[in-house]
């Protein structure tokens, strides 16, 4: 398969991250799982990119790949991840660094940080919240312990903790889910990263807490100017949070557009079907349009377009044979789609 750098993925100086044709496979006892089959997208500086898709589409793996945190059985088998810390610097290819190399560690937590889905298990139960935030500050920013403690409390205040001094001394199990996620955000933002990767940060939270966390992230994002890669499966969250969206299906980005275009002018049948199938608040009752079938099991390899097995607009002899290339629908807005209907 030939690689065509798409319009969107031409490494513009405005992009913090430019992922090109990323391929990751997992070698398990039961077979090979091709998690990413050539993922390409970019994250513009100071913007929020939403990465949406159903479970198994590879969205989390993409996030972990940027951090070089894919574990044991997973192997990166191709592609580039270009990271440009400042607009006037040359980009570096993260994949050329070793997983535990000093270069990679200097980026992690400092230039690119990450928050995870489960606030209950993402903080170490044995150390106080303050200690865990200070750890990152001491690693990247200062050697002065008092200064680190001061900054930790400052950032805890910033994420809206009601009583930051007390929170800093408390242990994770003493905090509610929402508070823990705030602490995680504080930790991730403690070194003013260029990019924040948020892997379903609100999925495990209740709606009222989720709303607060989303407000907080949006507010801090516009204040600090950090770019965010926001991984989620919730279209509502995407609509509220993101500037741009990449829709993933089975290890590929199938559509990439601004958030308005995704919701008002979607092109890929999968994106359309996804939007149709969600029950929307305030919409009249009736049958939901659903996508037939299920996501193929991860060990199998689907020929042609991965979505053709469930696609209502499938073209026989085309979709089940050739993998569609990335097609630019609107160059100005950077709207691209991988679908034979538009070739």
């Amino acid at each position: 398969m030939t690689v065509h750098p798409s319009a969107a993925s031409i490494a513009s100086t405005d992009d913090v991250i430019c992922v090109e044709d990323l391929k990751v496979s997992f070698y398990t006892d039961l077979g090979i799982v091709r998690a990413l089959n050539g993922v390409s997208f970019n994250i513009p500086r100071g913007k929020v990119l939403g990465v949406v898709g159903e479970s198994g589409c590879g969205k989390s793996i993409t996030g972990l790949s940027i951090m070089q945190l894919v574990h044991g059985a997973g192997r990166t088998e191709g592609g580039r991840i270009l990271f440009r810390e400042f607009a006037d610097r040359d980009p570096v290819d993260i994949l050329t660094f070793g997983k535990n190399s000093s270069e990679m560690r200097a980026i992690r937590g400092n230039n690119i940080s990450m928050i995870f889905q489960e606030p209950m298990s993402s903080l170490n139960p044995c150390y106080s919240v303050g200690n865990q935030i200070e750890e990152a500050i001491l690693l990247h920013q200062t050697d002065d312990k008092l200064e680190a403690a001061r900054r930790a409390i400052e950032i805890l205040t910033k994420v809206g903790m009601p009583n930051p001094d007390r929170i800093a001394k408390s242990y994770p199990h003493e905090l509610s889910g929402g508070m823990r996620q705030r602490a995680m955000i504080a930790m991730a933002l403690s070194c003013n990263p260029t990019l924040l990767i948020a892997d379903e940060p609100t999925t495990a939270l209740d709606v009222t807490t989720e709303a607060n966390i989303l407000d907080l992230m949006r507010g801090l994002q516009s204040e600090i100017g950090t770019s965010i890669m926001f991984i989620t499966h919730n279209m509502g969250v995407v609509a509220q949070m993101c500037d741009e969206v990449a829709v993933m299906y089975l290890g590929r980005v199938v559509e990439r557009a601004t958030v308005d275009d995704i919701f008002y002018d979607p092109k890929h049948p999968y994106t359309i079907a996804l939007l149709q199938s969600i029950p929307r608040l305030g919409r009249s009752k009736g049958r939901l349009a659903s996508i037939e079938g299920t996501v193929p099991d991860p060990y199998s390899r689907v020929e042609g377009c991965a979505f053709h097995l469930r696609c209502p607009a499938k073209i026989d002899g085309v979709c089940d044979v050739t993998v569609p290339e990335e097609i630019v629908v609107d160059a100005a807005k950077g709207h691209t789609v991988r679908c034979h209907l538009y070739s």
Binding site: L69, G109, S122, N124, P125, A136, H140, M184
Partner: protein, 327 residues
């Protein structure tokens, strides 16, 4: 916390009473008593003993008392610190036990330290190098360590020490130090003798704990907070030792409480082979000669050690893991 300790202590006292009762019952089960052995000896020495003499002895040892009376005599005196008189040697049970128990406890403590010092790093290595050749080798050695009887290892080490280094091991001290007062030289002498025992005692436990450590660490390494620590940019060494090991070590801490008494009694066989003056061989001979006060006392003391050990383990766990709230 205090509430918890108080509750545990009350529970412990209740359990100890029941344990002493059941233990005493088991120990006096076998027919006959030490008295028969005693009388045998008297007969051999002085030919004949009168009925009165026998009765006097019976009276003294309370041999013909009903079970409850025997138990009561023993337990009421034990509580006052008087564990009765050993039939066999006519010595106070207390005196005999304390000296040996001291050796047993220090020996086991050394073994425990050794176990921890060895099993944690090896377990960590094994878990972080899973499915590599060294991991397989470590795993295999662990199983061999579990499978080899301690006394055999003691024998083999004994042979190596005597034949190769011409070094007299076994026993606790060189003859010139046995009755000597404590001094630096005596400690050095003890260390020279005791290393085999420590090594042998620690072997089985080390193999087991390494295995546990490996499994726990593998679990913990899958936890999200380990990933969080990596995402901060921490070096893998720090991730493992600061964030993962601290959490994986908890079952080992819990095992601490049970391990000490287990080691104390586990040395029985080894102590036999190495002729160590510890509590195990004493308990064994007391059982054999049906010296019920001695055996019963040792059994209850060991139970108390086990219960105290469990309590210490739980308290340590609360200290290591802030999530464990003892209320």
């Amino acid at each position: 916390m205090l509430n918890y300790i108080a509750r545990r202590l009350i529970n412990m006292v209740v359990l100890l009473v029941v344990v002493s009762f059941v233990g005493f019952f088991i120990i006096q089960l076998p027919p006959g008593s030490i008295l028969d052995v005693q009388l045998q000896r008297f007969r051999q020495m002085s030919g004949d003993i009168s009925r009165e003499q026998v009765r006097a002895l019976e009276e003294r040892y309370g041999v013909n008392d009903p079970f409850m009376t025997k138990y009561w005599k023993w337990i009421s005196r034990s509580v006052q610190g008087d564990f009765g008189t050993s039939f066999e040697t006519d010595q106070s049970v207390g005196d005999r036990i304390w000296g040996r128990l001291g050796f047993s406890v220090s020996l086991s403590t050394f073994a425990l330290l050794f176990t921890w010092l060895v099993s944690i790093p090896i377990g960590v290595y094994s878990a972080t190098h899973r499915y590599t050749v060294p991991d397989y080798i470590i795993t295999f050695i662990q199983f061999v360590g579990l499978a080899i009887p301690g006394f055999l290892l003691a024998l083999v080490l004994l042979i190596i020490a005597t034949r190769l280094f011409n070094h007299q091991v076994g026993r606790l001290f060189s003859p010139e130090f046995i009755d000597a007062p404590w001094s630096f030289a005596r400690v050095v002498d003890m260390a020279k003798h005791v290393w085999i025992a420590v090594l042998v005692l620690a072997m089985g436990a080390t193999a087991g704990l390494t295995r546990i450590m490996r499994a726990n660490l593998l679990d913990v390494l899958n936890m999200q907070y380990v990933q969080t620590a990596r995402a901060k940019g921490l070096d893998e060494v720090v991730v493992i030792w600061k964030h993962a090991v601290r959490n994986a070590i908890q079952p080992l801490v819990m095992a601490l409480g049970t391990l000490l008494p287990a080691l104390i009694v586990g040395e029985t066989l080894v102590a036999q082979v190495l002729s160590l003056p510890t509590i195990g061989p004493m308990y064994l001979s007391a059982l054999r000669s049906q010296d019920m006060y001695l055996a019963g006392t040792i059994l209850v003391i060991l139970s108390a050690l086990l219960l105290i050990g469990n309590l210490i383990g739980d308290l340590l766990l609360a200290w290591v893991d802030p999530r464990v709230r003892l209320d």
